[in-house]
Amino acid sequence: MLCFSCRHEESTSTKTFITNNSSHSIEIIPYYQGVISNVDIKYIAPNSTLPILTNHTRGKSAGYSYPIYLIAVDSIYVLYDNLKTVVYYKENSTGNNPKAITYDSSRSIYNEANYIRKITQEDKRSISNEYTFTFTEQDFLDAKK
């Protein structure tokens, strides 16, 4: 007798953290089509870590981290102490700010390669990932007034 059944479901949990290792407050301000997306603004206190995104997906994979969530965002402003800013451009951006941090920079918040991935749990059918991006004191020093 032939017996068919659904295959066992696999699942992935993914958390993304943004760590602020500087002694300055940080606001992450995404722009979409020239408009600030207020609900997406994130505040990170000095020397603290913010869990910025959690998601659960089917299948066992590297998961979807914050950079994938940012795919639709045209650019990001990071504001330090409400005083200094850094602009981040997405991949293939047409922006022309020479001081903007581009996608291929090792400091780009857009680029998942700049996040440290840690597998916190894994078994045959499930996996949990954590991604962490860290702002440093040097990032603050490199920002412009």
Binding site: L2, R7, D40, N55, G59, I68, A72, K90, N92, S93
Partner: protein, 141 residues
């Protein structure tokens, strides 16, 4: 499926899992839009919903596992994530006009994998959609 159990066993995981992704996206979106959230499950929706409702799953990247793909959403929606979001890691989707109900009633029972889905899409394409556009979309999967 066409021959029920025996033929269902021949359906690959790409179809077996991507179809429920599309159905979940469609049914949940329909429910919440009827409750007053007009953009629920569209490419502009985010925050409250999760996979595959966030941004209508248009962030599905080409380098992710094919099983849980966005293919059935992309057949129905009218949004080309590759162009609108200027991102080459996303499917180039110039196809629109299919409905999940239409796919289910007319040809899903003849679909076993990417090849047969491509053939059936061409045999049942909406007005204005070309074989080249279908090939371009299906090449992503």
């Amino acid at each position: 499926m066409n021959g029920e159990l025996i033929q269902y066993a021949q359906v690959n995981t790409f179809i077996a899992e991507s179809w429920p992704v599309g159905v979940e996206w469609y049914l949940t979106s329909m429910e919440y839009r009827s409750r007053g959230i007009p953009n629920y499950g569209t490419e502009t929706y985010k925050i409250s919903a999760s996979y595959p409702l966030d941004r209508a799953y248009q962030y599905w990247p080409l380098n992710s596992p094919k099983e849980y793909s966005s293919v059935f959403i992309n057949l129905c929606d009218n949004f080309n994530e590759n162009v609108q979001w200027i991102n080459s890691s996303l499917p180039n989707d110039q196809v629109t006009g299919y409905t999940l109900a239409g796919i289910e009633s007319s040809f899903l029972k003849h679909v076993y994998g990417q090849g047969s889905l491509r053939d059936q899409l061409k045999n049942n394409k909406p007005t204005g959609i070309t074989d080249a556009q279908i090939d371009q979309l299906m090449n992503n999967y």
